[in-house]
């Protein structure tokens, strides 16, 4: 029973973290048809920004609870600014190119951003652990969880709800969905596709940085943290279907629960299970779980 509870909670925590990262990635792909390899770098920038701000905040002796607003806000702003620079500086010159070319372009951006983070923050690790212990612990029988980790589940739920609401219940969301369905027709109908692209990329970038910022207190923030996460995020969006936010949520849940199941029952399968799930889904539904196969336009 205890193991079952542990699997459920561990799976949910891991899924929440994965979902926040993958949501931005899949949103950008859905609207712009860009598989953004630099998303991991945005995650890293969010983590570094948060860690720097936490370090400064606690070093200055401010009231501890204020740090949450600062590091989360700081990470999101850093993500938005970086996203705007990438979109205006690089991507807009590349629109209309083949999706494979865009992968190479964003891969180039990733390499540049990796060096930019090293230039700005150096190679030494940063710690932002103070907020991690502030929410306390929650005890279930002999199992103790960090309150911070459980809060992540709520944050992921909020992010998911906000995205669903924005896409389905607002005028901007409807315009965005129109662009997702057909960029050319949307343009012909007078939708400002360029503006939609900018806003979408900034939101996607902010989500990546938010995930990094939220993770920073539990980690040693060091160069390369963005590379590891991007591989997992790709697995999640591929399982759910590229471009589907709902799919990303289900993909993250599947990966999270299956991984926790493996860790608690057959730890030697932990590495394999994520890609095993992905391979199994793709064998049955090559387009992912939540994307309807469509005829290609010629």
């Amino acid at each position: 029973m205890e193991t079952l509870l542990a699997i459920l909670i561990d799976g949910l925590v891991y899924a929440s973290w994965l979902f926040i990262v993958a949501a931005g990635l899949t949103l950008v792909y859905g609207v712009m048809k860009i598989l953004n390899m630099a998303h991991g770098s945005l995650y890293a920038i969010g983590a570094y920004s948060a860690a720097s701000l936490v370090g400064w905040y606690f070093g200055s002796g401010h009231p501890p609870w204020g740090s949450f607003a600062l590091f989360i806000g700081g990470a999101v702003i850093a993500g938005m600014v970086t996203g705007l620079i990438i979109e205006r500086g690089v991507l807009r010159r590349m629109y209309g190119r083949d999706e494979v070319v865009m992968i190479l372009v964003t891969y180039g951006v990733l390499l540049i951003l990796e060096d930019v983070t090293k230039l700005l923050w150096g190679v030494d690790a940063y710690f932002a652990y103070q907020p991690y212990g502030m929410i306390g612990r929650v005890r279930f029988s002999d199992l103790t969880f960090a309150g911070y980790d459980l809060t992540l589940i709520a944050v992921a739920g909020l992010v998911g709800f906000a995205l669903w609401y924005a896409l389905n219940r607002t005028r901007q969301g409807k315009l965005l969905r129109a662009v997702i369905h057909d960029r050319e027709i949307s343009l012909a109908m007078g939708i400002n596709v360029t503006r939609i692209f900018i806003v979408t990329f900034i939101i996607g970038s902010a989500l990546g940085a938010l995930a990094g910022g939220l993770t920073a207190p539990a980690l040693s923030v060091a160069p390369g943290i963005g590379i590891e996460i991007i591989i997992l995020a790709f697995a999640v969006v591929v399982i759910g279907g590229l471009g589907s936010v709902g799919g990303a949520a289900i993909g993250a849940l599947l990966v999270g629960i299956c991984r926790a199941l493996a860790v608690h029952t057959y730890p030697q399968f932990e590495l394999f299970i994520i890609y095993g799930v992905m391979a199994a889904v793709l064998a049955v539904r090559p387009q992912g779980l939540f994307v309807i196969a469509r005829a290609r336009k010629i």
Partner: protein
């Protein structure tokens, strides 16, 4: 007489000048003994350590800093005895540093570049056991003198014989055999352990050595769970829960670098070590960086007598003070091990040069390093395993505490090299399973 027109007439002054120049050149070329020519030479040294990735902060950069400090001191001749002579047998060290990040395949390419394009005389490097396993056969193929300074897998010299490859740091066997000995001295009635180690050569070797040693020294100890998260995974929530559910009395981990720091942060926040005794075989690198997070009483090791475990000596005092003055933080074990590798090379080059009275070649240096006993800030290093290619040293463990806000170690126990390392020619696994029980540390 027709040819006479082609003969140029020189004035006596021109002839005299030419003669003086020739004589001076001849004197410069022939007049100095070979050792003086070596003085004017340089020794090209390739250094490989993590400059990016999670291992850079706790491992790569401290190792690079130590290399910088030691090489400058060697070149200037300002090291304490027995290294107070200038350079490597008089040769100035000219170093090139390469980032170890990127995995074994990339490192093999970088190694070939160092040896074949940059023509380095020797390579010192490698923190990752996976990289060491990949580099060793290539180094042998290229006949490149190579010294591993940090990686720990014992398989390098247990499974192969090398002529040009050396390791001046001890293997992971002694970390884990000593860990088992220490924990059993601390908890003689121990009933259960769990392990959390990284999913690659280092993690498996470390856990197996610990598990085998425990199985021999106290066969009734129950192994509750064995977790092997991916290297660099970052998030260990599920693994921590699995270990918590196992309710083991002791948690063994050979995590290092950012992974170890992440585990300490996440484990401490969840109270993982409240009811279980943690033992981190590589914990020493975090004791200053995460002194507020490491739980009181955690057993930590430093992969040998390094860092806070290093015995006092003029060389160690100089190293600690110079490092602190320059980098503002005490040197941790990667710094010690890098310094040790460079000093091992200096000892070998000086020895080979003294025997030859000139600049030695790599074969002569390798022969000098083989089986060498030399001094390092961590004490005496004996190249006595792997047919003289692998170092052994004593192993030290202690428990972490904070006194007046400063991190310290108490309950320190030193294990002589002979009781935590196999004899030469015997594989770690065979020695642990067949002879460890009969090997005394007293």
């Amino acid at each position: 007489m027709a040819g006479r027109k082609n003969v140029r007439n020189y004035s006596p002054v021109q002839l005299a000048t030419a003669s003086i120049v020739c004589l001076l050149t001849a004197a410069l070329c022939l007049g100095h003994p070979p050792s003086v020519r070596a003085d004017e030479g340089t020794y090209k040294l390739g250094l490989v350590t993590f400059l990016s990735g999670a291992a850079a902060g706790p491992f790569g950069v401290p190792a690079r800093n130590a290399a910088e400090l030691i090489i400058e001191a060697i070149n200037a001749g300002t090291l304490p005895s027995p290294y107070d002579s200038k350079g490597l047998a008089g040769m100035t060290i000219e170093s090139t540093i390469i980032d170890e990040a990127g995995g074994g395949t990339k490192q093999v390419g970088e190694f070939r570049n160092l040896v074949q394009r940059r023509n380095v005389d020797a390579v010192i490097g490698y923190i990752s056991s996976g990289d060491c396993l990949a580099i060793a056969p290539v180094a042998e193929e290229l006949r490149a003198l190579t010294i591993f300074f940090d990686c720990g897998t014992p398989r390098i010299f247990e499974d192969n014989d090398y002529k040009y490859v050396f390791r001046t740091g001890p293997t992971s066997t002694m970390d884990n055999v000593a860990a088992a000995r220490y924990i059993l001295e601390l908890k003689p009635n121990l009933k259960s352990v769990s392990g959390m180690n990284q999913n690659y050569a280092w993690g498996f070797d470390s856990w197996n050595d610990f598990k085998w040693a425990m199985g021999v020294l106290k066969p009734d100890v129950d192994i509750k769970t064995e977790q092997f998260p991916k290297l660099g995974a970052g998030q260990y929530g599920s693994e921590i829960s699995a270990v918590m559910v196992s309710r083991a009395e002791v948690i063994h981990s050979s995590f290092w670098g950012g992974d170890m720091e992440g585990l300490v942060l996440q484990g401490a926040a969840r109270g993982l070590f409240d009811n279980s005794q943690g033992i981190f075989t590589c914990g020493e690198t975090a004791m200053f960086r995460l002194s507020d997070q490491i739980p009181e009483g955690t057993i930590i090791g430093g992969r040998g007598p390094f860092g806070v475990f290093a015995p006092a000596s003029p060389l160690n005092d100089w190293f600690r003070k110079s490092y602190m003055d320059r980098f503002g933080t005490p040197p941790t074990y990667p710094s010690y091990k890098m310094a040790q590798a460079i000093l091992g090379l200096k000892a070998a080059v000086d020895k080979a040069a003294a025997a030859k009275n000139g600049k030695p070649n790599k074969e002569e240096i390798a022969a000098a390093l083989k089986g060498l006993e030399f001094q390092a800030p961590s004490g005496v290093v004996r190249m006595s395993l792997g047919k003289g290619h692998q170092a052994v040293q004593e192993m030290v463990y202690g428990q972490f505490t904070k006194k007046n806000g400063k991190p310290e170690i108490y309950n320190v126990r030193r294990y002589p090299a002979e009781c935590v390392n196999p004899p030469d020619g015997v594989k770690s696994e065979d020695w642990i399973k067949n002879s460890l029980k009969q090997t005394s540390c007293n």
